[in-house]
Structures are given as C-alpha cells and as structure tokens.
C-alpha cells in the first residue's frame, strides 16, 4: 500500500512538477500571471493526439519537437500581447492587467480547441502495458512520462544554476529594476522566460496526453494545480516548484487511494490554504 502510493504519486507528481516549472518561470521572470497556461498545455496534448491519429507520428517524436514549437509560440505571445501591457503598467497594475488579458486568452484558446476538436474526452493508447517495479504495476507510458519530466526538469535546473544564460534569467527574476545596470536587456530576458515557460507547458501537455484522458474544457484544472504548486514552492523558485510538484502528486495519490477520489481537489486546496496561512513565501522560501 505504502509503496504503491509512493510510486504512483511520484509518477503523477513528475508531470505536475514539469507543469509548474513553466508557470513559475513565466511569473518569476516575465512577471506575467498566465491564467491561460492550462489551455496552452491542452493545445499541445491535442496536437500530439491529432498527429498520432492523423499521420501516425510517434508521440515520443512529438514530445521532443513540441518544446521548440512552444518556445516560438510563447515568444510571439509575449511580443504581441504581453509586452504592451508591461510597457503600460508596473507592479500591482501589471498583475491585474496580465490576469485579465490571459483570462481572455484562456477563452480564445478554449473556444478554438472546442471548435476544432469538439467537446468530447480524448485519449490514446500508447505503450499501455504494465511494468512491475518493487511489486507495483505501473503503465509503461506513465514511466516514460516520468522519465521525460526528470530529464527536462533536471536539465533546466542545472542550466539555470550553472550557465551564464541561467544567471541572466535569475538576475531579472530577482530584481528587474537593477538588471539593466549590469547590461541585461530585461525585455529580451523576460521574453525568453515567458517563451521557455510556454515550451515547458507544451512539453508537459504532450506528456500528459500519452497516458491521461483530457477534454477541451479541462485546462483550468491544469492551471489551478500548477498555480498551487508554484505558490507552495515559492514564486520563481525552480527547485521549490519541482519538490512541491512531487509532493502534490504524492498527496493526491494518497487521498485518492486511501480516502476518496472525489476529495483530491479539496486536498490540494487544503494544502494551499495551509501554505497561505503559515508560509505564504512558499515551503522553501525565506521569510
């Protein structure tokens, strides 16, 4: 029982961690609270299914290619939609403006997905056979999904921590007003942060599509969970988001198997409330 929860929880948490990573980059670096995040994730999931069913393209290939596509889309979105808002306002006003604008984007993407793919639940069966680890049977596609999350998430954490490029991103995240003093183009870095976040959203979405059922109107749940994880981990804290994502996966699996599957969202929210009440700076942040 315990081992089952641990393994299934980690597998679920891996996807959550990857999902939250993108959102924490977007909010931490570009200062855009993106409520359309879950819809971008879903769009990638639908593309994976359409490519597989329409053209027989392997889902793994799509997962590898969808990241760069997401990067370009994110870059365009930032230039066309977010940059005018950033130029117009700052601080709390930018929060309100970006929330409302991305809220509109949420409906635009959702409407487009509904028109193209219809309102039904979609899923594919891909590598859907059981693998036994420590006496627990896990579907192979879920294990691959976890592998993708570990590789992508890990590579990003290392790149942010060690490269010059990562240093620039972290500098803008920390104090956007001082970054120009050391010769950083804040606008460019913010665009990169937003685009990178979108790339992660797309990768996570394609990964989810490999093993989970989803529908065009379910994007809000992805956004919601990613948001809760981001706040648990501390806004802009990449390592925190990874840890909090895994933690949330464990908690949800525990609640679903040991108590009642209908209460998983309530559990998510209970954690969220506790974090807000006692550690609003995030589980790993400093007061």
């Amino acid at each position: 029982m315990f081992v089952t929860i641990l393994i299934l929880g980690l597998v679920l948490g891996g996807t959550y961690a990857l999902l939250a990573l993108g959102l924490t980059l977007q909010y931490g670096i570009a200062r855009i609270m993106n409520l359309a995040y879950g819809e971008l994730t879903l769009a990638a999931a639908f593309i994976l299914v359409a490519l597989m069913q329409g053209f027989g393209i392997s889902p793994l290939l799509t997962v590898a290619l969808i990241g760069p596509v997401g990067y370009v889309v994110g870059s365009l979105l930032y230039t066309v939609m977010m940059k005018p808002l950033v130029a117009r306002s700052s601080g709390g006003k930018l929060d309100v403006d970006s929330i409302l604008a991305t809220f509109g984007l949420l409906f635009l993407i959702q409407g487009a997905l509904l028109m193209v793919f219809g309102p039904n639940f979609t899923s594919i069966s891909y590598l859907d056979k059981g693998v036994t680890i420590f006496g627990v049977t896990v579907a192979l596609n879920r294990l691959i999904a976890l592998g993708i999350c570990v590789v992508v998430g890990g590579a990003l954490v290392i790149a942010l921590a060690t490269t010059r490029w990562g240093l620039a991103l972290r500098a803008v995240a920390q104090t956007p007003t001082s970054a120009p003093l050391v010769g950083l183009d804040v606008n460019k870095v913010a665009r990169q942060g937003f685009a990178l976040g979108t790339a992660l959203a797309a990768t996570a979405g394609a990964t989810v599509a490999m093993y989970q059922t989803f529908s065009a109107s379910g994007g809000v749940v992805f956004t919601m969970k990613a948001l809760v994880i981001v706040i648990m981990g501390g806004v802009g804290n990449v390592g925190g988001a990874l840890a909090a994502g895994l933690l949330l996966g464990l908690v949800e699996t525990f609640v679903a198997t040991a108590i009642d599957p209908g209460l998983t969202l309530a559990a998510t929210f209970a954690i969220f409330l506790l974090v807000l009440l006692f550690r609003p700076q995030g589980l790993f942040g400093k007061a």
Binding site: M33, F103, G104, F107, G111, L265, F272, P280
Partner: protein, 303 residues
Amino acid sequence: MKYVIYPVALALLAAVPFVASDYALGLLIGMVTYVTLASAWAMFSGPTHYVSLATVAFYGAGAYVVAMLNEVMAYPMILLITAGVGATMALVVGLSTLRLAGVYFVIFSFGLAELIRQLITWYEINIYGTLGRYIFVDITARGIYWQMLGLAAITIGLTAYINRSRLGLALRVIGDDEVVAAHSGIPLARMKLMAFVLSATILTLAGAIASPRWVYVEPAIVFNPTVSFLTVIMALFGGANRLWGPALGAIPLFLAFEYLSAHFPDVYPIFLGALFIGVVFLFPNGVLAGIEGLRRGKKEETA
C-alpha cells in the same frame, strides 16, 4: 432632485411585470440578477483592484442553502441563514488571502468555486445519499423579480454610501498604493475584509433569491463558472470604479450573451475571450471612462 428620480425610476421598474410577457419577465430577472452581481462584485474589486473570480462560489452557495433548507424552514429565515453562510465563507477566504499580495487572492478565488462544487458533490453523494435536490418555494417569477430589484437597489445604494464613507476612501487608497495606505495608518486587512464580506453576502443572497427559478439543482448546474466570468467582464466593461458602471455594463452584455448562447453556442467562448482582451487593451477603466476620455480629448483639440 435625485431623491425624486431614483424612487420614481425604481417604482417604474417594479411595475414592469404587470405589462411584460413571461418571456420578457424571465429576461428581466436575468438582467437584474447580473446588475446585482456585477455591482456587488465591483463594490470590493472595483476600488481595490483585487480581481475576484469566485462570484459563483457565493452565488451557488446561496442557491444551495435554499435547496437544503426549503423543506424545513420559512423563506425569510432561509435568507437570513444564507446571508450568514456567505459572510462566513468570505471571512474564511478573506482572512487567509487578503493579508497577502493581490495575486494570491485571485488564484484562490479562481479555484474556490470548483472546490466548493466538489465538496458539496462529495457531501451529497456520501452523506445525503443522492445528487440533486428540488426547490419548492411558494414564490412567483414576479416575486423573484421584485426581490432581486430590491437587492440591486440596495447594492447600488450601499456602494454609493461606501464611496462617500471612510471605508470607501480607504479602499481607493489601498487600490492606488498599498504601501502609501499602510503608512497613512489604514488597517489594510480589516478594510479589505469588510468590503469583501459585504460584497460576498450580497452575492450569496442573490443566489438564494434566484434559486427558485431552477426548481431542480445539482452542483454542476449551480456552480457554473461562466457566471463568475460574466460578472467580471460586465463590471469591467462598464467600469468597475463607477457607481453605475457595472449596471450599464451588465445590461448590454447580458443581452449579447443571451443571444449568442441561443444562436451561436460554439463561438461563445471566443467572443468572451475577445471581449476580455479588448477591454483590457482598449478600455482599461471601462467603456464609460473611455467615452469620456474621447470627448475630453476632442474638447481639448477644439479649445
């Protein structure tokens, strides 16, 4: 002068059901409901800029209180309890989020309706036994209309009163700059909490008043997230910082959405999305302020 105009206008509006058809009355109830929701939403979110996406959490909770109690209690008593439930919910949400930066509040409110929907669904299935309840209250459509009209009048009256009171001034300062507000000695959390509880209580009451129209309720029907989103866009469209802004935004948009959902249900979300983006980019302070800005601009040109 306005002490004559407003009562007369209210009396005229109250007399409409005597000449309107059933269909028109239904439309009117919907319209007045959204005027109430948008105005109550703007009471808190307008001056403070704390965008609440949780309208339907309170509205739906109000309807559910009626559904749960309508067989055991008299209607006025239920309304009192509804107000209490709404205020308590708002206190819990407000105490945990309003002390923090606005973005935490938005995120929490974003998921609140879904949370309450799932909790009630779980309760109904596991403890009550069946999902879905009936509301049999001896109230006609006209009765609902009058109650809702009364609530709308109270909401707008209360907003006007708050705007002139110390609370209103405090909220505006908080909305402009929280640091300045804190340094001026304004108790931030208490002021935000007061306004939020007032606004949420009205939203909950509106749900209770509108509930007899449903007859049959279950969580998926009552906690329809679209209600929250429509409320926000209506208030912003008209101008959330103005007394009559939310009401003036609610009327045309209610009719537009009513038409769209009947004739073009597929493009509904796209229209809603485009409207949000359009308002943020073109009319950040609402259409009323936008029109005024244009007129002022023209006057300056000619002067």
